[in-house]
Amino acid sequence: MEKAKQIKEELVRKIQQCMNEVGFKAVIELSEHEGIVHGRMEVEMETLKVVTHITDREMKPLDCGPVANEVARAHLRTAIIRPTLTVQTATGTVSKQRPTVPEAQIEQPYSQTERKEVR
């Protein structure tokens, strides 16, 4: 880890020096995992752009995570009624039986529901 960091730092400085020698005012952006050297230079009405990127990882543009298990489990121990598409029973007296989704349909979510005109 330390060796890789040293190499990264040495490399970006050498690249910066190289770019500066030909007229760029190269800028270094250095972090724990990334090293970037970039610069732009106007030459004969054209803009030259140079970017060098050094990294030790492949990052994805997405991530996710649950709350700690002990936190979730503590809440779930007290959660008696929660929203669900399966059958549930009210904590108190209910006035009438509620329509439910049959378990067979729940277990086969990708089967098409037959559409009917109900009269």
Partner: protein, 231 residues
């Protein structure tokens, strides 16, 4: 008289664009539901809604000024929120971190996905990034019928930031977004305090704003209401 609400969903497992129709329905009689245009739907639900039902449309509540300000604080200077807050239902089966603890919930248990869009400005050598940040909330009733809710997890996803900036962007988001769970939990606890003295028999979610009359469309992925049956 109770109301029968019929929902047709674009996707399987009761997700996506939703058409709904409400009809008054007494016991012991047929319910007439004439659907002339339900093509392109893949799942359906029907709920008989009691007269005592209370419905709370979550989207307007979550877009209160203090909540928006707190959400903006989660992002700090790294990113800007570019949409209002949306709140839809998502079955556990489709929550992105489900595999971290699959048995935590049942596959068709519903979480509320609270989410919004964001934008990240980047240096000239990268494309700007645009994406969304989500928090997953479980509302519940405890054994005494008291209303509660907890933040179960988080996620983010974005496009852009290439070719060199995704690392920095993801580092910042992976630090700030999880920390936002505590902020959101605090806001929920404050709002739920308004119900501290009330007790309920049942809690469920309804697509859209939970209207009890007429018909229309909504997107259950982006708008749900919390329904409660008070004792």
């Amino acid at each position: 008289m109770p109301v029968l609400t019929n929902y047709w969903f674009e996707d399987t497992d009761f997700r996506g664009n939703t058409q709904f129709l409400n009809i008054a329905h007494g016991a012991g009689v047929w319910a007439w539901i004439n659907w002339s245009n339900i093509a392109g739907t893949s799942s359906t639900l029907v709920w008989e809604r009691e007269d005592r039902e209370i419905v709370i449309d979550l989207v307007p509540i979550l877009n209160a000024a203090d909540i928006l300000s707190a959400v903006d604080g989660i992002l700090g200077n790294q990113a800007q929120r570019t949409s209002g807050i949306r709140a839809g239902w998502i079955p556990w089966r489709y929550v992105p971190y489900r595999n971290a603890d699959p048995s935590r919930h049942g596959d068709l248990d519903l979480l509320i996905r609270i989410f919004f869009d964001f934008h990240v400005d980047t240096p000239w050598y990268c494309t700007d990034a645009d994406g969304d940040i989500s928090y997953y909330v479980v509302p519940f009733l405890d054994g005494s019928g008291r209303l509660g809710a907890f933040v179960d997890g988080w996620s983010y996803a974005y496009d852009g930031g290439g070719p060199f900036c995704t690392g920095t962007i993801s580092d910042q988001l992976s630090n700030s977004v999880p920390n936002g769970m505590a902020t959101l939990q605090s806001l929920l606890d404050t709002r739920l305090g308004l119900f501290a003295s009330r007790r309920f028999d049942l809690l469920y979610l309804l697509p859209g704003n939970g209207t009890r009359s007429g018909g229309g469309t909504a997107n259950v992925n982006e708008q749900v209401s919390l329904a409660l049956l008070p004792r």
